[in-house]
Symmetry: C2
Subunit: 470 residues, 2 copies
Amino acid sequence: MRIVVVGGVAAGMSAASRARRQNPAAEVVVFERGDWISYGACGLPYVIGGEVQERRTQGNHVPESTLQDVPDDEFGVLVARTPDQMRGQGVSVRLNHEVLGVDARAATLSVLDRSSGRTVQEPYDRLLLATGVAPVRPDWLPDTLQGVHVLRDIPDAQGIEATLRGGAKRAAIVGGGYIGLEMAEALKRRGLSVVMLEAGPEPAGRMLDPVNRRLVREELERQGIDLRTGVTLEGLSAKDGRVTGVQTSAGRVRADLVLVAVGVRPKVELAQAAGVRLGHTGAVRVNASQQTSVAGIYAAGDNCESLHRVSRRRVHIPLGLTANRMGRVAGVNMAGGEARFPGIVGTGIFRVFDLSVARTGLTQQEADSYGLKAVSADVKSSDHAGYYADARPIWVRLTAEQGSGRLLGAQILGHGDAVKRIDVIAALLHSRASVHDLEDMDLAYAPPFSSVWDVLLVAAGKVKKVMREG
Amino acid sequence: MRIVVVGGVAAGMSAASRARRQNPAAEVVVFERGDWISYGACGLPYVIGGEVQERRTQGNHVPESTLQDVPDDEFGVLVARTPDQMRGQGVSVRLNHEVLGVDARAATLSVLDRSSGRTVQEPYDRLLLATGVAPVRPDWLPDTLQGVHVLRDIPDAQGIEATLRGGAKRAAIVGGGYIGLEMAEALKRRGLSVVMLEAGPEPAGRMLDPVNRRLVREELERQGIDLRTGVTLEGLSAKDGRVTGVQTSAGRVRADLVLVAVGVRPKVELAQAAGVRLGHTGAVRVNASQQTSVAGIYAAGDNCESLHRVSRRRVHIPLGLTANRMGRVAGVNMAGGEARFPGIVGTGIFRVFDLSVARTGLTQQEADSYGLKAVSADVKSSDHAGYYADARPIWVRLTAEQGSGRLLGAQILGHGDAVKRIDVIAALLHSRASVHDLEDMDLAYAPPFSSVWDVLLVAAGKVKKVMREG
């Protein structure tokens, strides 16, 4: 059996690895358009910001002996498995191979070898589309202007690094989502002045309810980020092939580094060529086995929809764990095993300077938009016992279904690992538990770790009160 | 209706406060033997170690205006509600009132007013026994020798503080449980040399499986604690009324501060006088309404058993959250409402120097002792992405029922708040979830917070592997 994977990052490599383990007799081939496979793209802002361990130090997951075939580059630290390691597992990895087309009837791909320039036909028995997402770019954005960047993959990050080493002093970040926020911090750490342009009224708009977006705004302002909201990008100015500023709906901003981070779109060109059905989100629609609508063709990762276990809707929320998990499921199934993707509950987390932000499930706004009768309660408390020396504030917003009290979601903002409490709520969403269940739980207490009544328990009690009051 | 509460700390004050809120017409009286009510006894080691915020600073939960009737003492920081505040809520608090006896038939108490020396009879309609625990002391241990201490309440802590201010240089801690470990750190912070004597083969013996006890031992040794295991206390030496050393099964140890922390026993004298049934643990047996076997008499807090939701057995695990929760339940029920104590899952957490330690459910050893067919898997990983600058090791042991995969317990050791992940497992134990459920969960990932596959997910996968191989 010949299993072919298109795309060698999170979902693709997880799938290849699992497929081979499931069926050691299968031939497993991965076509990757670029030079890099199996890297943690989520780590790019931290490498740029200088927050990574030295390569080859303890705690670095890349064993020294396997680094020989990783390009000598600071981003190599993000590589989890090298082509040689994959070959050692029996997976054939073809770098610089771009899949140009699919013939689903003939079960063949046309593949361009970018180093030789030749295109060949490659057969498959099972095909996985793990093509990921591409950053959204305005149509008019020039491809070649120096200093204008998006951030999705290692070459993007290398481009940003080159602009930084070229002496960039002023950054304009367009978009206040995860990447915009993480890069605001990274660029500030690199000594740049940073202007952030956000089209909406607050940053982090799609992740949080308004009450919590304000905390993100305050943190940005406290850290000296020049945040301009309700402002859109209208054009660029340049001189000698280098960007010199951005034209916005509220005037001109000088900048020698422009990062456009206004969202991503699923890369579905191959899927469409194969006749694969897309969902209402525009991403590939898959079933729980990661099968597409075309026999023999699977899809996994950021290019796919997933089932949201709370809203029971199909959503497109591209994230690293989801992609890896989908890849494993697809790999097992393509190789003849049985695995099911369990769906997601919409968990996300990021850090921006000293503020950690986590969410899971639905925000109040999302629940409202789905027509759910939801109530929310907000609690501000201490992450540790109030009298304990390093107690810091923590904000919890808990959202539940009016009446039943079924948990619908949570947002937690605070410091450091304290917001990892979000996983408790994520687990309860999987179990379809209620605020009544939560309030009864035997959570861990000692003064360095929480108040006697952990803030989650307090929040559960407060939601019950809000429900009673109507 | 007259509701009388014996004991004014966690369970007692929670009950009094809830009872009054449930039934504002009820008379609620609290008899407290000592000078202090409503304080966080769990914080005592941190006050002694100097790890508390200054009184009256931000983050201190005691508002300035209410501190007037708290004795002027560094331990005042632990007081959550003062007698005046309780009186403001309609709860009558009688300090220095010791309840000497109960006549359940007549529904009266005999109460000694320790300031006047008079004993009076006090009637009740509902009685709550919230008498807590007393430290276990060897029979021969003298009461009056200076420098010999237990640590349970504020007067005990004041005694230790006095010994420290008297110039103590060498501490001997007898017992390697929570209190012994927390105090080893506190006394080291105060500049003392510390010898710890533990009768068992490792510290933290009742909380962890052997593989994890070794990590506690290593941390103690790394921090310069002189740990001697398999050693019991046999006697004391003294000079001029002050302790000068301890005689152990392995020779003499010089010490001018001796802390005996070899466990606690439930204070059940009043319960026995009232004819209340005790459980097989020696603590008061209560039902889910916190009622004892005698009509009209309730019990709550450290003197009670609680139902362990995993083992379905009655256990005696005295902890702060449990006590507060039992108190609330008792308070509501005594005042005519309806509330049920949900049971516990055996969650505990402590910090000893740089090592944070958490557990929930059953250890493998506990599961074995109950005749459960259990398997465990150990994972050592990073608390954050391996390449991220502050990634530190984390150890997870997950225990599940062979076959079904039902989660039975977890132990997590690591740094800082990373071990608060234990609450995810605690929540899943409440839901009777399995390792299969856990492995499917959408937990939060970004490099500053976890690996793509959070260590809990990795551990779930490893348990499944052990089950298959087992």
